[in-house]
Amino acid sequence: MEETLFTLIPAIIVLPLLGALINTFLIRDGRRAGMVASLACGAAFVVGLAAFALLAGLPHEEQTHIDLTLWQWIDAGPLDVPFGFLFDPLSAVMVLLITGVGSLIHVFSIGYMAHDARPVRYFVYLNLFVAAMLILVLANNYLLLFLGWEGVGLCSYLLIGHSFERKEARYASMKAFVMNRIGDFGLMLALLALFQHFGSLNYGVIFPRAAELAGQQINWVLGPTALASAIAFCMLIGVSGKSAQIPLWTWLPDAMAGPTPASALIHAATMVTSGVYLIVRSHSIFLQTQAISNLTVYVGVATAFVAASIAIGQYDIKRVLAFSTVSQLGFMVAAAGMGAYTAAIFHLLTHGVFKALLFLGAGSVIHGAHDVQDMRRMGGLRSAMPTTFLTYMAGTLALSGIPIWAGFFSKDEIIGSAFHGTRFGTYPVSGTILIITAALTAFYMARQVSLVFLGQQRDTSYHAHESEPIMTIPLWILAVGSTIAGIINFPGLHFLDHFLEPVFEVGHAVQEPLEFNIPLAIITVVLALAAGWVAYQVYGKRQWKKTFRDPLARYLGVFFEGFEQRWYADDVYDTMVVRPFKATASFLSRILDPLGIDGLVNGAAWLVGFGGRGLRRAQTGYVRSYTLVFFLGVIAVLGYFGFATVR
């Protein structure tokens, strides 16, 4: 059985890679490329499913030991890094999410990208992304994880800038890349510190000995700190870059400049959740530091609330979803910080499904509405796009946390953990903020549905149509998934809790499955329903003009302006970082470089060129002059040996 697993695991990664290679070199037709890419990803899903089944069949304690080293990747003195994979319950569920949702998004893209200028390139990047993401979650050491981490970052950059003719796409891709680099730098520091202490980056070496990190003191910026805190802090920087948390969160909304299905896969369902995955994977380290774990909770809660409030003030259909993603990621990060790891992964999985659905639904709307993204120009699309509307409703109910839909269970588990308490204690204030955020979520989703699908079409200059089956079928599947996904950790059954238990035994982080808190659930649901009803009253009942100002602006005044302007975060960054940076750069490029560096470099280049030209002149083509040089060499060599003997 383990042998079979050992052959299946590399295949999961190789398949999408193969798809990328085939599309790069052999396929020139967009639709065919889409078929190949979907097939590759679908095959990876099937293989992943088989591996999952095998793993589930193993005895409990063996489930964390499927550790496969393909070959020694780097072996340089003390640095020894295997190219190896760890297939445990945690990576197994991640693999299923990535390949499963990924396959549906690939299929959807075939229809969505039909009129694109470079569909083949798009599918190559998409497949490459899936492969990199799989490496990230399957790695058995931090360096290989980092390879995947950088790989998904690169693919995200390429996909955001896919339509690079548009200025904002170019700008957004750069912004995403730079912000991610800042985060990556943090993660890199964490890896260096881990290597310095353990002499290894392998999970198998680090996690069992993680307790050592708590006792070790180092001199940190603010005086002596436990090594565990320093490492966890650096990791948190990486998490905030990748998972768009405060302070590195402003790139994600702009990343919506990429093709919508790519946003669904990368900027909603998978890549942005890798930060959460990192914390859960490194739980042994985070458990050693109460301070940084608390900080993680605060970062997550603050992000969740701020982003949800911003989502209320947006008019662009994708931007609302983008801020919603940031907000939901905040929920997950908060849960991971509290030590409620299963809850974080549970929400990660359900969110992956229903947010992918919402993004694809938005994609379908944009596709059917001929690239209109401003919700003020939509309205009444329910009749033109009934399928999209129905499936979108499933996603909306799931995201808003309405019972029986998936989001209700996963979100409730996070809020429940905050009040019920974990090994770090209870977080009543954070929990309250999260409940308010959940209500805001219901509000902005109801607002969006009202503006897009209900009422009458406000801008009648275009004729909306329903999307073709290749796009609606994935929507149906995801809609069913969003409706029933709560079952994977249904209260009382706790499938996911039990399945993930072996992973958390390593760091002694197993928690009793949380009992369902009925009063809490009633409060959140009532608040969510109330918020949704209010939004429907405000936006769904009246007929607006196509350039209306949001009615909330009247009542909330300056607050609403803050929502609209994203709490001015971009302006602050622009003034504080970008502009001084540009000024410095311009100073260096105009004054310092030409005189100093360029002078040096150009001088060196001139010297090399001069030497090269001189040597070229010596190369006359005459054998006799060549022999002359040869002879000079002979004299030198023999002279040396003669000198050596005399001495």
């Binding site: 790069t24 070199f25 070959w71 020694q72 990747w73 780097i74 072996d75 190219f83 090399v608 060129g609 030497g611 090269g612 030209r613 040597l615 070229r616 190369q619 083509g621 054998v623 060549y626 022999t627 040089v629 040869f630 000079l632 060499g633 002979v634 030198a636 060599v637 023999l638 040396y640 040996f641 003669g642 050596a644 003997t645």
Partner: protein, 485 residues
């Protein structure tokens, strides 16, 4: 008087023997073959057979036979396999090229096999005379191959220059052998080392050292070590391009194999460290001059020739440090990486070369990356590997040789190597820039056929794989160390 037939173990020269026999047969068979592609495929079959012969002996204890003249150990087998690979890819390159140039003659492939066979003997020889004969033998083959495009005056010039220069250098080699024999009374390399170990006076004998110097010069010419390198650009430029590719990869590998044998077996550093410094100085010169001269070239073939000179310098860094643990692995690793990469890099020139016309200017590459995606991608891989960009083989190769040079105390050599690598990045990246970021109103037509693409693809794939599998490759070539003596 009773005449005793010495016991000979023919397996010690298995691969070269198979190739020679097969080449002889192929010369005859070829008379009855109309389609020369068949000859090429038969030659490939022979290569495979030759490589397979050595397989059972890989990882076994070294075997010596022919009165100690021939040696079969893992180093020899590794070199045999590298040469097999290079020759096979060369044949793939040559197939359609010869036809397009209207010089498709069946002899090409047997001569190629003979030459490869001779090169293999350089690795199998444990005797200075064997090395000398092998060198002459392979040179004769190369003279023919260099002049194979005889209707072209440039090809004739290349063959002529190569012959004159080769004859000149051979004199040094045989004279050096004679002097070493004069002092030690033997041409058997293992015995030379024993003599030197036993006899203090011999180690400081001027005659012996001069002889060693002459040997270094003779081999230095083959691997185009500065200042014995000047033939290289002219010969590479004029020869038919697959032959240039072959010379840059295979001849170098063979020359380095012989050099390794000489300093490893006959003049080990623990006995005679005198040669280290002069080789280090020449290595530094080779790296610097090769790289700087390459910058000034506008002709791709000449640029690649200088690049091959520069890389000889890098490989020599490992030779200088040959006494260090891991040095032989780095040496062989570099040879493999370099041979595959430089060989592959010539493919793009082959694709550009039209019948009769020569388009070798770097500007002629404009836009080829988009028009020939596979070829362009492979060429980009080769250039990045030559420049030493991780995670390709070229990076690890450079890193390994600099590391051993540093370990051996030649930090200045590693530093010079590092600096000249930086210079080299310029002209390698210039090729990529030309391929992808320049466009011409009238693109130069390029020809790719299935065999060429297959050869390029295999080479590119191996360069990538070698980089990713650095450690397994090192182990593969590394077993030689224990068996080296």
């Amino acid at each position: 008087m009773e005449f005793q037939i010495p016991q000979t173990d023919f397996t010690t020269i298995g691969p070269p023997l198979v190739l020679s026999v097969w080449a002889t047969a192929l010369l005859l068979i070829d008379l009855f073959i109309a389609n020369k592609r068949t000859t090429a495929i038969l030659a490939l079959v022979g290569l495979a057979a030759g490589a397979a012969v050595a397989l059972p002996f890989y990882g076994q204890t070294p075997r010596v036979s022919f009165e100690g003249m021939a040696l079969l150990d893992d180093t020899a087998i590794a070199i045999d396999w590298i040469l097999t690979l290079v020759t096979a890819i060369t044949i793939l390159f040559a197939m359609d090229y010869l036809k397009r140039q209207a010089i498709e003659m069946g002899e090409f492939y047997p001569v190629l096999l003979f030459t490869t066979s001779a090169m293999m003997m350089m690795a199998h020889g444990r005797n200075l005379i064997v090395l000398f004969i092998s060198l002459e033998w392979l040179s004769i083959g190369l003279y023919i191959l260099a002049g194979f495009a005889y209707p072209r005056i440039r090809s004739q010039e290349a063959a002529m220059k190569y012959l004159l220069y080769g004859a000149f250098a051979a004199g040094f080699l045989i004279y050096g052998t004679a002097l070493v024999y004069g002092v030690t009374g033997t041409v058997d390399m293992a015995t030379i080392a024993d003599q030197l170990r036993a006899n203090q006076a011999m180690r400081t004998s001027p005659l012996l050292l001069v002889g060693l110097g002459l040997l270094l010069i003779g081999f230095g010419y083959k691997i185009s070590m500065v200042p014995f390198h000047m033939w290289t650009p002219d010969v590479y430029e004029g020869s038919p391009t697959p032959v240039s590719a072959y010379m840059s990869a295979a001849t170098k590998a063979a020359g380095f194999a012989a050099l390794l044998r000489v300093v490893q077996i006959a003049f080990p550093v623990d006995v005679l460290p005198t040669w280290q410094i002069i080789v280090a100085i020449l290595a530094a010169l080779t790296m610097v001059i090769g790289n700087i001269a390459a910058v000034a070239q506008s002709n791709i073939k000449r640029m690649l020739a200088y690049s091959s000179i520069a890389h000889a310098g890098f490989i020599l860094c490992a030779l200088v440090a040959i006494g260090e643990p891991g040095a032989v692995q780095s040496y062989l690793y570099y040879i493999l990486a370099y041979a595959l990469t430089n060989l592959g890099a010539f493919a793009v020139v082959i694709a550009l070369e039209q019948a009769g016309e020569e388009r070798f200017d770097i500007a002629d590459l404009a836009g080829i990356g988009w028009r020939q995606p596979l070829l362009g991608a492979a060429m980009a891989v080769f250039m990045l590997s030559l420049a030493g960009v991780p995670p390709l083989a070229g990076f690890f190769a450079k890193w390994l040789v600099f590391q051993v040079a540093y370990q051996a105390g030649f930090w200045w050599l590693a530093l010079i190597g590092l600096l000249s690598s930086v210079v080299s990045a310029f002209y390698y990246l210039r090729i990529i820039v030309n391929m992808y970021m320049r466009e011409r109103s009238e693109p130069v037509p390029s020809f790719t056929t299935a065999p060429l693409l297959l050869g390029v693809g295999v080479a590119a794939l191996l360069v990538v794989v070698q980089g990713f599998l650095t450690n397994p490759v090192l182990t593969l070539v590394g077993q030689t160390v224990a068996a080296g003596r």
